[in-house]
Symmetry: C2
């Protein structure tokens, strides 16, 4: 009966986001999601631990991927250059072209306190992974920690501004303006 | 029977932290907390919505307090000077002298995923409030947002390093070294 569904994960994600948007996260059940996707609840739970996790699909792999990217970047880059370079790569490879879906997802996440908390956990997983990447490059713990927080914070601000903008402009532009603002603020006298 | 207990809140917080530390967060019940504090569960729920919230007591007032502090600071301060000044004030008025309690609390929070997520929500409430404070001072949205994130991130890193240090050194020293590192990293060429 259960045929192999190579795109099951994507179909479940799409169906879930549609239903969460149409009728609310709390009001949506896993059986409703699987019905819309034309799949079984058994298939659902093979891919996602619970109803919430369908909104955070694939994000478990991000931190390790980003940590590796930091660790393996050209050795002569300053932390700041590496951050700028890394955020541009992230923006173009994983975000550009998906603004509509990410906006819909953001609206769902913002609608529920538990989802907002879960979303924040991503930040913390990311900055821990990036700090590890910087430590692998030989930076001391403080520099690695601060550089990682700068990277995650700047990207987070850039994404928020990108999603809030009236039309779809390149995310890289928002990354640049955020880093520029960060550099201007921190350069001011104490 | 139920006498007025002016220190009920503090007693519940103390009893809860002791029990969470001794036997674990998941294994502790509200009746156990109230028994140790010599109070009723009714009193408990007058102060805290659930078992989790006893670890986050009083923190709801922080964001508004900090936003007001930012908005009302001397007008000639740069955002960076205001951040440094504000973090010093926070450190000395609300943190110094409480390292042992905060270390115990941190261990409990780290032990439970739900608590870790709840803890992160504090960060987001703080940076939103601080951004509002900066906007009240007339800064544009981007500067206000970035300055607020810098403040919260730097304080968060400083507290982590303060709690992880082998002995009790002033938190203000960790604030200064974190801001110094932040300024050094962001000043480097891209």
């Amino acid at each position: 009966m259960a045929r192999w569904q190579p795109d099951a994960r994507e179909r479940l994600e799409k169906a879930a986001l549609e239903l969460f948007t149409e009728q609310g996260f709390a009001e949506t059940t896993v059986p409703q999601i699987t019905a819309r996707a034309g799949l079984t609840t058994r298939t659902y739970f093979r891919h996602f631990a619970d109803k919430r996790e369908v909104l955070f699909a694939g994000e478990d792999e991000y931190p390790a991927k980003v940590a590796r990217m930091v660790a393996e970047a050209p050795p002569d880059l300053t932390p700041m250059a590496l951050i700028a370079h890394g955020l541009h790569t992230m923006a173009t490879t994983a975000f550009e072209g998906q603004r509509a879906r990410l906006k819909a997802r953001q609206a769902v996440v913002q609608s529920d306190e538990g989802l907002r908390e879960r979303e924040l956990r991503k930040l913390s997983a990311m900055w821990e992974a990036i700090a590890e990447g910087f430590q692998t490059r030989g930076f001391d713990n403080l520099t690695a920690t601060v550089a990682a927080r700068i990277a995650v914070t700047a990207f987070n601000v850039a994404i928020e501004r990108w999603l809030a903008a009236p039309d779809d402009q390149p995310l890289t532009g928002f990354v640049d303006e955020t880093l520029k603002s960060l550099r201007a603020i921190t350069a001011e006298p104490l």
